[in-house]
């Protein structure tokens, strides 16, 4: 019966949430990770380390394995081999998506996915950490500081005056920000951001860049992006993925003159500036 | 057990043959009067008297005897109520052509209710068949010689043994030789000489025909002589083992044929449901249309030719209706796959009622062509022809569909749209047209399946409903949008069902299969062969 109760508890109170331990300055470890879909190796012996508070950009041609990597970190895909650790202690391969989300890893999808029939505020409230407990689901009364948190984030993503509007009628860019805002509501340590500026106007891009930069430091941020201009505007460290492997790593200026990298991109047939 | 229908077909041939047999004989051709006299007695006679009369008729060497007895066995022998003339009716309609029984001259049409049929019952019928058959022992056609021996098996009389022995010496056909020896052994089995009886019992081991197994059983139980009983029992053991083996083979065959029916019902759905993501609740009704098309073709074509014509026709009819449905309703619902379920459900109601209003709610009788009726021997196993044909048909349809999807331009476009509608459009595929054609294809196959079903079950307004649930199960089990999946799923569900049936009974077997399906989907949430692409997102 108690088992049943614990199952009924939508939040799984019984899955303890331990604080992440990043004492060595590294927040995320991916080591010798390999995953293949019916024969094809999407990720091939990939190793990657994300520092605490670092803002890292990951670039690479289509099919380089960027999204698959995010799936692995967030528990959507289980790798065939390899280790994935959050801080020193937490083995992400042992956890499912909700628990991973709750220990402080937020993920933004390629396509902006906000809950369109709900208002901006409701979207943020939904994402609020701690909101997932069953009792909180039924007795949805916001405490003072929860309200403050929501409005803080609202300012941060610059949607203050849109709080009451339906997410569905927001502009494309605004949706992207709202989704980032939802991640922030989770009080995450690590943000995984997939193509945040796809289809944005230069102005929107600029604001997005600001937003992400402002997040770095207090959070670790991993951005997957094609747009080199945008990457240049935010990233100190850039990793190039190719065929599921790390091809090169370093400052963007250096990479852009790296013959291997150029070869890959030209080989991939995409014209990047 | 011999296939009756083949046997009947044989008899009619035999009639003509007897004519030839009797013609040359210059012997005083029994005058028509004697024959008429005998026949006249038939009218008032009760069944036992009729039996005696049949004997006498066979005795007469009148050229028409065989024809008349035949007509009698098939209850086509009549009296014209007022003229009390004895006639033979041709055909089964309300109005039939008649000919004089004795002279054979045609007498034109007559309304059946004005005729008095000379009644026969089963006993009489089998008597006549045996009598006629036994005459066929000398026939040139091995089919009829076989029939003759089998007729003898059904009522083995010692006095007939001599004729069989004579035949055995000259018989060329090996199968018939064996049968003859068995028949003779059967006579010995009831003989007085214990040694011969034991010998016979031994010889009869392994024969599965009831006509032989029956007496053997009796011998094993009741024979006065212990040795004979012993021999009979060992012989029986042999028979039983054979029966068991056959039993397993049979079950497997049943499973395959049930599976092939499921596949036929499902692959059309695998196209519309799988490739297009349309949950077509009217699929069953499209099969129904196919079945009705078969019935219609049989209205103006001889049964034997109707099916080959019905198949393409059914395909056409169902496909056209399908395209109409797609153009008229479904195309407004893309992106709302679950709504297609609701709309097509409405359509299925309409189609059902339409059929009820047009053809009446009564079932339609679809005849089975001769080349599909009866049984044939696959090695030692006797299987029903129509099931065999349907298995073959299923394979053919499947291959054709597969080729259509793999080898043709349309197939390519279909798969393209299934994978990525937007991209396909960008590549210049006219997806609207493709959708219409795909749906037409799926529906057409449903129609074709209907033709097959018309050979197995009711052709009526409810035909569709009885299969729709099963076909969805098959598609989902196999993995939406995967033809091979549907194939494997159909076969395995069919075989599983038939393997369970013997010990669990029909209903429980079906329930178990359903439960298994539910559990299986837990393990493989996207069926046997999951597929990517639009359909997978339904």
């Amino acid at each position: 019966m108690s088992e049943l109760v614990s199952e009924l508890d939508a939040a799984g109170l019984h899955t303890p949430i331990e604080p992440v331990d990043a004492t060595h300055g590294i927040l995320l470890y991916l080591e010798e990770v390999t995953v293949s879909f019916d024969g094809f190796k999407a990720i091939d012996n990939l190793s990657l380390y994300i520092g605490d508070g670092e803002l890292r950009c990951i670039i690479g041609p289509n099919g380089a394995g960027k999204t698959t990597m995010m799936d692995i970190i967030t528990g959507k895909t289980k790798p065939d081999t390899g280790r994935v650790f959050f801080g020193q202690t937490i083995d992400l391969l042992k956890l499912d998506e909700p628990s991973i989300a709750r220990i402080g890893i937020g993920r933004k999808f390629q396509r902006p996915t906000v809950i369109e029939p709900l208002t901006v505020l409701e979207n943020l409230e939904l994402a609020m950490s701690g909101a997932q407990r069953l009792d909180r689901l039924i007795t949805a009364r916001l405490t003072g500081e929860e309200r403050d948190q929501i409005h803080a984030v609202l300012d941060q993503i610059g949607l203050t005056e849109h709080g009451g509007r339906l997410a569905g009628i927001l502009a494309h860019g605004q949706k992207q920000w709202l989704e980032i805002g939802m991640l922030l509501m989770q009080k995450p340590r690590l943000l995984l951001v997939d193509e945040p500026v796809a289809g944005m106007t230069p102005a929107e891009m600029e604001r997005t860049a600001e937003l992400l930069r402002s997040l770095a430091g207090s959070h670790s941020v991993v951005v997957v992006e094609h747009d080199m201009g945008f990457v240049r505007s935010i990233a100190d460290q850039v990793t190039v993925l190719h065929q599921g492997r790390v091809l090169a790593e370093g400052r963007l200026e250096d990479l852009q003159v790296d013959p291997m990298v150029i070869e890959v991109y030209l080989g991939a047939g995409d014209a990047y500036h | 057990m011999v296939s009756r229908t083949l046997f009947r077909a044989g008899l009619t041939g035999l009639a003509s043959l007897l004519l030839v047999l009797f013609m040359p004989l210059p012997v005083q051709a029994a005058d028509d009067e004697a024959l008429r006299a005998a026949l006249t007695q038939l009218r008032e006679a009760d069944f036992s008297e009729k039996a005696a009369l049949v004997e006498t008729l066979v005795g007469m060497d009148h050229p028409r005897v065989a024809t008349i007895l035949n007509a009698l066995a098939e209850s086509r022998l009549f009296y014209v109520t007022e003229t009390s003339r004895i006639v033979i009716g041709l055909g089964d309609d309300v109005e039939i052509a008649i000919e004089d029984a004795i002279t054979g001259e045609a007498l034109g049409q007559a309304v059946k209710r004005d005729l008095d049929r000379i009644r026969v019952n089963n006993r009489l019928r089998s008597l006549i068949e045996n009598q006629l058959a036994s005459l066929g022992l000398a026939s040139a056609d091995p089919q009829q010689r076989k029939a003759a021996v089998e007729a003898f098996l059904r009522s083995p009389k010692p006095e007939g043994a001599a004729r069989l022995k004579a035949r055995l010496d000259v018989e060329s056909d090996q199968k018939i030789q064996e049968l003859l020896t068995a028949a003779l052994a059967l006579v010995d089995l009831t003989g007085t000489d214990a040694a011969a009886r034991a010998q016979a019992a031994k010889a009869l081991g392994g024969w599965t025909q009831p006509e032989i197994r029956g007496p053997l059983l009796r011998a094993a139980a009741e024979d006065s002589d212990a040795a004979v009983r012993q021999a009979a029992q060992t012989a029986l053991a042999k028979t039983e083992f054979r029966l068991q083996m056959l039993g397993w083979a049979e079950t497997l065959f049943f499973g395959l044929s049930l599976g092939s029916v499921l596949i036929l019902a499902a692959i059309g759905l695998a196209v519309t449901f799988g490739v297009m993501g349309v949950i077509n609740m009217a699929h069953g009704e499209l099969m129904m249309l196919g079945a009705y098309t078969t019935w219609l073709t049989q209205q103006w074509l001889p049964v034997n030719w109707s099916l080959p014509v019905a198949v393409p026709l059914a395909f056409l009819v169902a496909a056209l209706v399908g395209i109409a449905i797609e153009r008229g309703v479904i195309r407004f619902l893309y992106g709302r796959p679950l709504e297609t379920l609701l709309a097509t459900f409405g359509i299925s109601l309409i189609l059902q009622q339409a059929v009820r209003s047009i053809f009446s709610p009564l079932n339609r009788s679809v005849a089975t062509p001769d080349w599909m009726s009866g049984t044939i021997l696959l090695g030692p196993l006797e299987v029903t022809l129509n099931r065999l044909v349907i298995i073959g048909f299923c394979i053919a349809v499947f291959t054709l569909l597969w080729l259509a999807l793999q080898r043709t331009r349309l197939g390519l476009e279909v798969r393209a749209v299934a994978q990525n509608r937007a991209m396909a459009r960008a590549m210049g595929v006219r997806s609207a047209r493709v959708d219409a054609l795909t749906f037409g294809l799926g529906s057409g196959i449903a129609g074709v399946a209907g033709v097959a079903l018309s050979q197995l079950t009711n052709v009526g307004p409810n035909l569709g409903q009885n299969y729709i649930v099963d076909s969805f199960m098959v598609v989902v089990f196999g993995g939406v949008g995967n033809l091979w999946g549907a194939m494997v799923a159909g076969l395995s569900l069919g075989v599983a069902n038939k393997l369970l049936e013997p010990w669990s009974g029909a209903v429980l077997a079906k329930i178990l299969v359903l439960v298994f399906l539910i559990l299986f989907i837990q393990k493989r949430p996207r069926g046997l062969f999951p597929q990517r692409g639009r359909a997978a997102e339904v």
Binding site: E7, A10, E97 | G346, F472, L514
Partner: protein
Amino acid sequence: MLLPHWLFSDRAGLVLLAVLAVLGVGVPILNLWVPPDHPLYLSAYTVTVLGKYLCYALLAVSIDLVWGYMGILTLGHAAFFALGGYCLGMYLMRQIGARGVYGDPVLPDFMVFLNWSELPWYWHGFDHFGFAMLMVLVIPGLLAFVFGWFAFRSRVSGVYLSIITQALTYALMLAFFRNEMGFGGNNGLTDFKDLLGFSLQADGTRVVLFILSALALAGGYLLCRWLVSTRMGRVLVAIRDSEDRARFLGYRVERVKALVFTLSAMLAGVAGALYVPQVGIINPGEFAPLNSIEAVIWVAVGGRGTLVGAVIGAVLVNYAKTWLTGALPEVWLFALGGLFVTVTVLLPYGLIGLLQRREKAA
């Protein structure tokens, strides 16, 4: 009048409740205290038919909760409806006692007839009304929970889920058809005499049952309305529109699903339990997959994801059926089928959607 905000804001709901109240009061008066020859008199026939509609409406509401809000198209909800019905039916059977055809004090007629020597274990306890009532909730709930728990955890979704829900109800139908099951086979449970000592033939009992149905519908509606107004409701919408998003926000999607699915099944069970004494028979036909599909269609016709729409749809479609099967028995299926097609094609948001469009236009 003090109303919680979630109800106050829901005007359609208020109207519905008002109508139910009117019915709950009006129908009994018109049936019991108006002389039969008076034009306003409601015959027992009308009362039972209306009662039936209300039960169907409750079933529709329960479906709308899982389909409209959580996005699970269930094609097996009739199973829970029927199970609830059987639970009460078993109680009613036990109430017959020795008044059966064969006059056996314990065994129902069909068991005597199949020469069963004693009551199968699963029939015990159903002679207590309380127990039966409990089972009306527990049996459908339990089945739904176990089924949902496994299905959702292994992430069965979309048509696969729809089809196995269909498989579930289909299997149950076949099972209940078997006489060996001990539920009366094809004839099901019938020839009921009385409920808690009140004769089911009496107008009074009918009226009470009708009022209970009205109350149950109102209660069911309020429960669902309240639920979807809580944060839970918004989670359901999130799950419907983007399951992954909900998951990456840290929600245990499969648990929420299982929970709501179970709740909905219980509502369906109650509907079934109220349905049986009013129509006077429960048999395996109620499990037929087609029934489930039809119930889903009521919701679609009214407008999914609105709860009120489900009620309107259920009442309207069934009223249409009652009327058409009498008015044009030969061709009513054309009308019904046509209705389904036009609504799904022309009114993606159902009648409610139509009304809302009117509003906007006005």
